[in-house]
Amino acid sequence: MSVAADVEKFIVEEIALGTRVESIGHDEDLLAQEVIDSLGITELVGFLESSYGIEVGDDDLLPENFRSVNSVVAFVASKKG
């Protein structure tokens, strides 16, 4: 699967559990939809670090890096260099 599909699957199955979110458009605003709460962001960061071997710094937790699935994909790509 692509990074985008992986991230979408993780968000739908692990973070958005119980919110009736079944799919996420890759440009959909996750913040406006409140899909990722303060606990969800720590889970997502853990997933990204373990899945893609990147290190997410405390200062990387900016809304712009996690606003959409595509933002997360771009963030992962920038971290992998």
């Binding site: 406006a32 409140e34 990722i36 709460d37 303060s38 606990l39 720590t42 405390d58 200062d59």
Partner: protein
């Protein structure tokens, strides 16, 4: 040093003061990195998912419920601190889930005398202006987090402070507390400057630096 010892005894009692001293001695020199935050209360966004928490002004009648929370957190010595903070005129909110007290938040305004002790961390030049508040120690019991509960609690706090005529909230967040940083950033709290504070026993220091600078002046 003597004044701080006296204050600890007054606020924590003998047992609490000794426990704090022992804990601080065990910890050695503790360095904490934080970020000062500012939120304008004319920009309050309501959560999309309506939360179930009921928020009330903290009063003396809440102390037994707060004591239960402190025990579940493993910080029973905080009871005395809560009692003396209320006696000093510090304000607070408590959050209820049904009939259970599950969280709290402290705040003061420019008329607070004495100033809230946590404000020391913000820097030597920091002072609350009329119309501003300084908020601290947002807490929800772990089993009541998730599903936007903290967002709901903070939203209700912001609305209550705005309705009292306040314009801005100051505070700080630990740099490594990712959940808290995410909560504040998504609720529109702007990072203002960096803070590094260190403490060992009765000694403490803090330095501030503009954002983007690695160190702190």
């Amino acid at each position: 040093m003597i004044a701080r010892l006296r204050r600890n005894l007054r606020e924590l009692g003998l047992g609490g003061a000794i426990a704090r001293l022992a804990r601080q001695a065990r910890e050695g020199i503790v360095r904490e990195d934080a970020i000062a935050l500012l939120k304008d209360l004319d920009e309050i966004v309501a959560p999309k998912r309506p939360g179930g928490l009921r928020v009330e002004d903290m009063e003396k009648r809440h102390l037994p419920g707060l004591s239960k929370v402190n025990r579940r957190r493993g910080v029973p010595h905080a009871d005395r601190y809560f009692e003396t903070s209320l006696a000093k005129g510090f304000h607070g909110f408590v959050a209820y889930d049904g009939d259970e007290l599950v969280g709290y938040y402290w705040w003061v305004d420019s008329e607070s005398d004495p100033p809230h002790p946590d404000m020391w961390v913000m820097g030597a030049d920091f002072a609350i202006e009329p119309g501003d508040v300084y908020g601290s120690s947002l807490f929800l019991l772990e089993e009541h987090r998730g599903g936007g509960a903290a967002n709901d609690f903070l939203y209700k706090i912001e609305c209550s402070l705005r309705d009292r005529g306040y314009a801005r909230i100051w505070g700080y967040v630990d740099r490594t507390n990712r959940a808290a940083r995410w909560l504040y950033s998504t609720r529109g709290y702007r990072p203002m400057w960096n803070i590094v504070h260190r403490r060992f026993l009765f000694f403490k220091s803090r330095k501030t630096a503009p954002l983007g600078e690695g160190g702190a002046r």
